[in-house]
């Protein structure tokens, strides 16, 4: 009896181990090993013709200030972009979840999700032409506004970011608002709260998990963003993603690029931990898993 029980337990463990093995192998081969390789590269030296040659030095890390501007630009862009997304997304999500007529919801939600089926690169190229000289400026020229330039401006970059990442912000907020117990709103009103204080004290408060999820999701993606600044900003605005692309594809300084990549990962982890703390505190006892 005991023996067969042990046997079945062993079999169960074996099955579990076998089922987990492919995923574990995948993670080791495609996540852990590349990360180790990058860590090793980051203490190496650039070979005379570019690439990597073995060494043990922290010179690459000491050289990080050479990309301080790129780090700084990214640290400003990522939260600002996420905030802009939030300001646009919240009213949309609020309308969808609490105000939109039931029969319209499907269509409205589909309109938010459908653009996601097309690659961000394609959609950003579309904006290049909409904002370019043959797009909106050509239309404005008909009404006498000549030589207006929209493309390659900070405004174009911001527009591209908000446009590209908006669904990632709307959907989590929508879900947290949709699950809101409407009776709480009635109770708040019955107890004499104004609509504003009901919104601030109940609706906003209870939707914070969605807000923090959306915010950190968008912010982390923005930390690695390089496409939108290149295409809509004319390559004049330089983020850490652009620095990485150039270091690997132009100057072929793999060790320095690796040191920056490692630093970026560490920064992202810190950002996540801080966001997690804030969201936990804001939403009281509710704990939100961000990592």
């Amino acid at each position: 009896m005991a023996l067969s029980m042990r046997g079945s337990l062993f079999r169960k463990n074996l099955v579990t181990a076998l089922l987990l093995a492919p995923a574990a192998l995948w993670l080791v081969v495609f996540l852990v090993l590349p990360f180790v390789a990058i860590a090793i590269f980051s203490v190496g030296e650039r070979a005379p013709e570019g690439g990597y040659q073995a060494a043990l030095t922290f010179a690459q890390y000491a050289n990080l200030p050479a990309r301080a501007t790129a780090f700084w630009n990214t640290m400003v862009l990522a939260p600002a972009g996420a905030l802009a997304c939030l300001l646009v997304a919240y009213p949309v999500a609020y309308y969808l979840a609490l105000r939109a007529p039931q029969r319209w919801r499907l269509i409205l939600l589909a309109m938010i999700v459908i653009p996601f089926w097309t690659s961000l690169l394609m959609r950003t190229y579309a904006w290049m032409y909409i904002l370019g000289g043959r797009g909106i400026p050509a239309l404005l020229a008909y009404v006498g506004i000549e030589d207006l330039r929209l493309i390659n401006t900070p405004g174009a970059v911001l527009l591209g970011i908000v446009y590209g990442y908006l669904p990632l912000m709307i959907l989590p907020i929508y879900v947290s608002l949709e699950r809101l117990d409407r009776r709480l709103l009635e109770a708040s009103a019955d107890l004499g709260a104004t609509p504003l204080s009901t919104f601030l004290g109940v609706t906003l408060r209870l939707s914070l998990p969605g807000v923090t999820t959306g915010f950190s999701l968008v912010m982390i993606l923005l930390l690695g963003e390089y496409l939108i600044p290149t295409l809509l900003g004319g390559g004049k605005v330089f983020f850490i993603g652009n620095a990485l692309v150039d270091l690997f594809l132009q100057s072929r300084n793999w060790p320095f690029g690796s040191a920056i990549a490692i630093t970026l990962v560490l920064v992202s982890v810190v950002v996540l931990i801080v966001a997690n703390r804030i969201s936990t505190r804001l939403s009281g006892a509710r704990r939100v898993d961000l990592i």
Binding site: A70, G235, R252, D289
Partner: protein
């Protein structure tokens, strides 16, 4: 059954967020796993590459059914590759690049998958030194005739008597100006940079390319296009940082901006200058009278080319004068091959964009190999772009 607005939705917001949270916790379905990680695709590709799944076998003379080439934007007649496919059954995948550095980076990393590529003159010695390209087997290139090539342009393809690369086109690096927007006549790099900070404010483009952007800034002071001297580079950097806030873009893809009228002036290669001028006559092409770059693009075959027979076949096809002349007419860059020039109409040979006057050509410099790998120039470019 009641109808909900959710019926038929590809993914509902709830499911989307649930899935997201599930992924974060590390739980995932098999389908999602294959889809999200791309493992399904990767397995299929690997199986094919490793020969687990059958592909048409290629023996020594079998060309296979596909190959890929790395080259520059707007540089080939697309019809050429269609014709090649019709004749040989080999489909050509075309990868375009913005800089030689990027091509080198891909080849250095390995597994580029290219069977033919188009490096510029000054990079060939580095490719040879790194052992990335192989000496060409001239027996397979019956269409090549070295005696018909203009030796001014072909020297850098041959190292120690061995041919590593054969020339494609030559050209110059000047600038294109929309003369309707910027009417004053210009003839020098000094005027280019000064105009960029005045009438051309917000409308000027420079290449996202250290060789030409730094090189042409050096020409402002009359220094060598290839300078590696610290004090000269420091002055070029000073100029670049001063110009930066006035620029429309730092990009090597300047045709869309010029065509749309957003950009009025840009650093420009011969072939793009010819194409822009052909379609929009008010766009002029100017060579700086202080000098600047003259270049030759070559064909070379990477050592790790996955389909060398097809690489050689395409190369031999492309240097056939009857094919090369069509390429020339499509891309607008001059040919190094006298047999091709003999087939060109007179108005092409008389086009001053393609064949500048001798006194303008004289001060031009070929790019120097050292600039390709010099960390100083790379860091200068990074400081310029991040400023």
């Amino acid at each position: 059954m009641s109808k909900s607005y959710r019926d038929g939705l590809p993914i509902t917001p709830d499911k989307f967020v649930d899935q997201l949270m599930r992924l974060k916790r590390g739980s995932i379905g098999r389908r999602d796993f294959l889809g999200l990680t791309g493992l399904g695709v990767a397995t299929a590709v690997m199986a094919r590459e490793l020969g687990i799944m059958p592909t048409p076998a290629f023996a020594a003379e079998n060309l296979g059914d596909r190959m890929s080439i790395a080259t520059w934007p707007n540089y080939h007649d697309p019809q050429t590759f269609e014709n090649f496919k019709a004749e040989t059954g080999v489909a050509v995948e075309v990868n375009v690049f913005g800089s030689n550095e990027e091509m080198l980076a891909k080849l250095q990393a390995g597994g580029s998958g290219w069977s033919l590529f188009v490096p510029t003159n000054y990079t060939i010695s580095t490719y040879k030194k790194l052992g990335i390209i192989e000496p060409l087997d001239m027996a397979k290139l019956a269409n090549y005739d070295g005696t018909k090539e203009d030796s001014r342009f072909t020297a850098e393809g041959t190292i120690d008597g061995t041919i590593y690369a054969v020339p494609k086109n030559w050209g110059t690096t000047g600038f294109a100006v929309n003369t309707k927007k910027l009417a004053k006549p210009m003839s020098s790099w000094k005027e280019f940079w000064d105009t960029a900070m005045a009438e051309g404010d917000g409308r000027t483009m420079v290449h996202d390319y250290q060789l030409t952007t730094i090189g042409n800034a050096l020409k402002y002071y009359g220094y060598s296009f290839n300078s590696l001297k610290q004090d000269e580079l420091a002055r070029a950097e000073e100029l670049l940082l001063k110009v930066k806030p006035h620029l429309f873009a730092v990009s090597s893809d300047y045709q869309p901006g010029m065509r749309a009228g957003d950009a009025w002036m840009t650093m420009c290669w011969t072939n793009d200058g010819a194409q822009l001028h052909r379609d929009i006559p008010e766009i002029a092409y100017v060579l700086g009278n202080e000098g600047g770059e003259i270049w030759t693009d070559f064909y070379a075959i990477p050592k790790d080319a996955p389909n060398k027979p097809a690489g050689y076949a395409l190369l031999n096809y492309l240097i056939n004068p009857a094919v090369a002349v069509k390429e020339h007419l499509a891309n607008g860059a001059p040919s190094t091959d006298a047999r091709v020039n003999a087939l060109l109409p007179k108005e092409v040979l008389d086009n001053p964009i393609l064949y500048p006057a001798a006194d303008l050509l004289k001060p031009l410099e070929f790019g120097a190999a050292a600039t390709l790998t010099d960390p100083g120039r790379a860091e200068l470019m990074a400081r310029f772009k991040s400023a």
